[in-house]
């Protein structure tokens, strides 16, 4: 030391503060060793944070004294370099000092590792890998530093002994003449105490996927991110240590050069540290403030609680709660008597924090509830709740591909109808909506039903519910919970609801589907046998045959679906992959749907799979629903080979068990008539749909003064598209052709959109004329009857053939037979077809005819083919021998027909 000691003896230096801090590190370290358990580091630290505020305070003092010690040691070095002192230290001391810098970092890093949380476990791996990368004895060095995987014993020994003793020795050697003054100790203590009370030392919650090292390591982590060969980083460390050595002990020029380089490096390193701390999120991806999840990915790292010396609960209460996922969680200390969970979601197993976030280590209400998720399961928060790595990550990813989330088909069709795109099958997403006429139309009238629409109010799913992410289907309130939440909604001071948590489970009932699926195609109401009328609520007749939905919509009784009559529910057919998506994007519902009628009502030999072959999701659901699954054979779907886990197959016979109520049914095989070659292209629903809702003559216009609603943002607005509906009808659906994989299928269709759209009212473009569309849509009416429709209802029926209502007649005049059609509705001036028609009588219709590219009305040839059979049916009954025989060889029957049978002539006149 070249400076006379007397000059600085009266002045507090950074070095003296460091020394005072080091003393506090030692004292608090010794104290902290009492509650710390090296065998369960994470559990013991979280326990002391929750149960022992004084231990928590001491831990914080240990942490902060160490951090400040590092900072002041570095400042001390800088101070010396700046003031040109210290140059020409003896090489031995210089060497030990340089090594000392490394040892300070090692002592602190081992302290970081001893938290045993997610950050520490990964940092341990990185430290291990880097040390292993040291040439020749890296592997041994690594093992000697970190010890056995999973054990913290050796790290603890190095932390409290090896590095500490080394530091103590060189500090004593280095600074024996400069013992800090008493006032330095007092000042350091006061600052430390204040900081330790206000800010707790970090502990990762082990749920957030972002992992970062300690703050002084984050810049290095950023450097490592850019290095495919991280071994190079070791050379950097060596280079730095050499610089520190030369700065201390090198000749004047070398020392100067070393100091400058160190200074530049420090500035750059600080920059990297800022990047690592504030601009790196999950998986070390770039993220900037304001971006989605920024708070969760980045700021969560700075979550720190103030030590509360009077926690909001008693010690005894805290002692009674179990460790949750390896940690003590303060949430369950207060919320310890909450009922209603399924086993898997029992808070004794997953705590409250796994779903609701907040701060699991805080000990008073306000701090614990900070950044809490009130309603977990909304798609905006699944990444932090249901979808975290240990829970349901795959589903939370898949759900974003489901049509219930993207609404791709609905959006694409609407844009096509509005003439904004040509192909209704283009894939798109609700998040891609902009401000075109169609997109505004969708926002005003259609898109409230998507899973991303958040649930914002506590309470059970009702017929008014829309969206809600996972909760849309999986939320169930039992009676007590329903009563409790209703009481709370009436009186905010009634907090009994806090004891009755709704269950998140597999009991997905028809009521969950009802809110959304009672609209548009109305499959929920169809299934239950209710048809919407145009009556107003006040006009509802006092009869059991009428029902009011959502307080405004009047429904009338129609035959219910045979499956509903038997007690089946939606989820008895629709499996998890078809509903929550299978990871692929599909254009329309029929593409995403997996199950088909013939999967259960199969002719011949069933397609099966065994319980051993089940995928994990199906096996888990099957086991949760039905218990033991070993040795069970299941039917599988024809389309994507997913198991139908509520079926049982023995030899060639199959049974179905309803998922919620456990009723068992024998699965019936299709009737002979279904298998006849004449009907090989006819889908089951074409015959077995008893009725389908339809609506014609609707008009859409934009009214700039209408009080409207933006369903995407859930906000009211001025100006909205308005729909003026026509008449609702419940009748046997029309039929059409769907081209599917080179095959023509006959399917039920409904007048999806026979409408006019006044685009100009929205765009104000002169060239935007009134759009007229006559589009039918493929339908799956969900009004299945066990008996199929009659032969005549297809072959002699103008609605079935797509001509619309009217008189379809076969007349024989002068020995010549002719079919004639007299439509009930007037011709529409836009295209000259009757209002309710899909195609003209014995006319072809091409171009834009349906809401799909592959669905079209019958061509003239196909109409003739159907009507030819219809001709026979004018005399012969459907169940007559000749008609039954004709099902397998119609040509043969025709050739042997009686002279009395007069076949039609196919000209319209």
């Amino acid at each position: 030391m070249k400076q006379p000691a007397e000059n600085i003896r009266f002045k507090t230096t950074y070095g003296q503060i460091s020394l005072a801090l080091f003393v506090y590190v030692l004292i608090t370290g010794i104290l902290l060793a009492v509650p710390f358990n090296v065998n369960k580091p994470y559990a013991s630290i979280s326990t002391l944070m929750v149960m022992n505020p004084w231990a928590s305070f001491i831990r914080n003092m240990h942490y902060w004294s160490a951090q400040f010690f590092l900072i002041f040691s570095l400042l001390h070095m800088y101070d010396h370099y700046r003031k040109q002192r210290e140059t020409g230290l003896k090489p031995g001391i210089g060497f030990r000092l340089s090594l000392g810098v490394l040892v300070i970092f090692m002592a602190m890093l081992t302290g970081f590792l001893l938290k045993g949380d997610a950050d520490s476990l990964q940092a341990r791996q990185i430290l291990g890998s880097l040390t292993t990368g040291i040439p020749v004895f890296g592997k041994f060095l690594s093992a000697s530093l970190l010890g056995k995987e999973g054990s913290f014993q050796l790290i603890y020994v190095h932390h409290i002994a090896t590095f500490t003793i080394f530091l103590a020795v060189i500090i004593i050697e280095h600074s024996r003449k400069f013992w800090p003054k008493a006032s330095d100790f007092v000042a350091a203590f006061l600052v430390l105490a204040l900081v330790s009370w206000l800010f707790s030392a970090p502990l990762h919650d082990n749920l957030n996927p972002t992992v970062k090292g300690p703050w002084y390591f984050v810049g290095f982590q950023e450097m490592l991110h850019w290095l495919s060969h991280p071994e190079w980083a070791l050379l950097w460390i060596l280079f730095l240590l050499v610089l520190v050595y030369f700065a201390n002990s090198g000749k004047i020029t070398l020392s100067f050069f070393s100091k400058r380089t160190l200074f530049i490096f420090t500035v750059l390193y600080l920059l990297l540290t800022v990047i690592g701390l504030f601009f790196r999120g999950e998986h070390w991806q770039w993220i900037a403030p304001g971006q989605k999840n920024y708070h969760y990915s980045v700021m969560n790292n700075f979550k720190t609680e103030r030590v509360d010396f009077h926690p909001g609960f008693s010690f005894a209460q805290a002692a009674e709660t179990p460790l949750i996922q390896g940690k003590k969680e303060s949430c369950v200390v207060c919320h310890n008597k909450v009922h209603g969970f399924t086993k898997a979601h029992n808070p004794k197993v997953i705590g409250c924090f796994s779903c609701h976030g907040g701060n699991p280590f805080a000990t008073n209400k306000n701090q614990a509830h900070e950044n809490m998720i009130l309603i977990p399961g909304n798609l905006s928060n699944t990444q932090q709740s249901c979808g975290t790595a240990g829970c349901h990550p795959a589903i939370s990813h898949r759900i974003n591909t489901s049509l219930m989330t993207t609404l791709s088909g609905m959006i694409s069709v609407d844009r096509t109808v509005f003439g904004e795109q040509i192909n209704p099958d283009l894939l798109t997403n609700i998040h891609h909506l902009k401000h075109s006429a169609a997109d505004e139309h969708l926002k005003n009238l259609c898109i409230r039903c998507h899973l991303g629409n958040p649930k914002t109010i506590l309470g059970p799913v009702t017929e008014k519910s829309r969206g809600g992410g996972c909760l849309a289907c999986h939320l169930n309130y039992n009676n007590r919970a329903s009563r409790a939440i209703a009481a709370h909604q009436k009186d905010r001071n009634d907090t009994a609801f806090l004891h009755y948590h709704p269950s998140i489970d597999l009991n997905v009932s028809d009521n969950h589907c009802f809110g959304c699926h009672s609209r548009s195609g109305r499959i929920s109401t169809n299934f239950e046998g209710w048809h919407e009328t145009s009556l107003l609520a006040q006009q509802i007749p006092d009869s059991e045959n009428y029902r009011l939905v959502e307080g405004t919509r009047v429904f009338k009784k129609e035959p219910e679906d045979v499956h509903h009559k038997l007690g089946m529910e939606c989820i008895d057919c629709h499996n998890s992959y078809a509903l929550m998506g299978d990871g692929n994007h599909y254009q329309h519902e029929e593409n995403q749907e997996d199950v088909q009628c013939t999967d259960c009502h199969f002719p011949g030999v069933p397609r099966t799979t065994t319980s051993r072959e089940l995928d994990v999701e199906s096996a888990t659901i099957a086991a949760l629903r039905f218990g033991k699954i070993t040795g069970h054979d299941y039917l599988t779907t024809h389309k994507r080979h997913h198991a139908l886990i509520n079926t049982t197959v023995r030899s060639d016979t199959a049974w179905l068990t309803t998922k919620n109520s456990g009723k068992i049914f024998l699965l019936r095989k299709p009737a002979t008539v279904c298998l006849a070659s004449a009907h090989k292209d006819v889908t089951c629903t074409a015959c077995h749909s008893a009725w389908a809702p339809s609506c014609i003559g609707c008009h859409n216009a934009y009214d700039p003064n209408e009080r409207g609603f933006n369903m995407l943002t859930n906000k009211e607005q001025k100006g909205s598209w308005v729909e003026y509906t026509g008449q609702y009808l419940a009748e046997l659906p029309a039929l059409g052709i769907r081209q599917n994989k080179g095959k023509n299928e006959i399917i039920p269709v409904i007048p999806g959109m026979i409408l006019t759209i006044d685009r100009q009212s929205y765009t104000h473009h002169k060239h935007d004329s009134l759009l007229f569309r006559r589009l039918f849509a493929p339908a799956s009416p969900h009004t299945t009857a066990s008996k199929g429709r009659s032969c005549k209802s297809c072959h002699n029926n103008s609605v079935a053939l797509g001509f619309g209502k009217g008189l379809l007649k076969y007349q024989i005049k002068n020995g010549q037979g002719r079919w004639t059609f007299d439509p009930a509705y007037e011709n529409n001036p836009h295209d000259g077809l009757p209002e309710d028609a899909w195609t003209g009588f014995l006319q072809n219709r091409t171009g834009m005819v349906s809401t799909r590219k592959n669905v079209k009305p019958f061509s003239v040839k196909e109409q003739e083919k159907i009507l030819l059979v219809g001709t026979c049916l004018t005399c012969h009954k459907g169940n007559s021998k000749v008609m039954q025989e004709s099902l397998n060889d119609f040509e043969k029957i025709l050739q042997h027909r009686s002279p009395k049978c007069i076949l039609p002539v196919w000209s319209k006149k």
Partner: protein
């Protein structure tokens, strides 16, 4: 060589170096055995239908009965991979990605995940890994 030339200081220096070298030698030998003991452990996993099962040091991949046992340690810096998304194994530390065969598809890692040989015991539905045989 005379006693004068071989000073006491030099002698002590040599002795200290000798002791240092001996200690390094002892350490080397001790670690060799310690690591050998640690690597003798046989590890058994249940054979499940999960496509990716995460264990602390291992990943068991089962794609249609095509089973692989991979190290869960990222080849960049050894972090434990604990996430699969879209058929990609993602490292939390620096975002390296691997496909389900263990090949690196996104940096900074470039080496494939270490693949362990294993035996499949179909009767007890389990997988047995002996890391020493790798």
């Amino acid at each position: 060589m005379t006693l004068k030339r071989f000073s006491r200081r030099k002698f002590l220096q040599l002795l200290a170096t000798g002791i240092g070298v001996s200690l390094v030698y002892f350490w080397d030998k001790m670690m060799e055995n310690a690591l050998l003991v640690a690597s003798r452990k046989k590890i058994v996993f249940p054979l499940t239908r999960k496509i990716v099962s995460f264990y602390r040091d291992y990943l068991v991949i089962n794609q249609n009965h095509n089973i692989k046992v991979l190290s869960s340690h990222c080849t960049h810096l050894g972090c434990i991979i604990n996430k699969e998304e879209n058929g990609k194994l993602i490292c939390p530390c620096h975002g390296s990605e691997f496909d389900l065969k263990g090949n690196a598809v996104k940096g900074p890692a470039y080496k494939p995940l270490h693949s362990y040989p294993f035996k499949e015991d179909n009767n007890d539905r389990r997988i047995i890994v002996q890391p020493t045989s790798s």
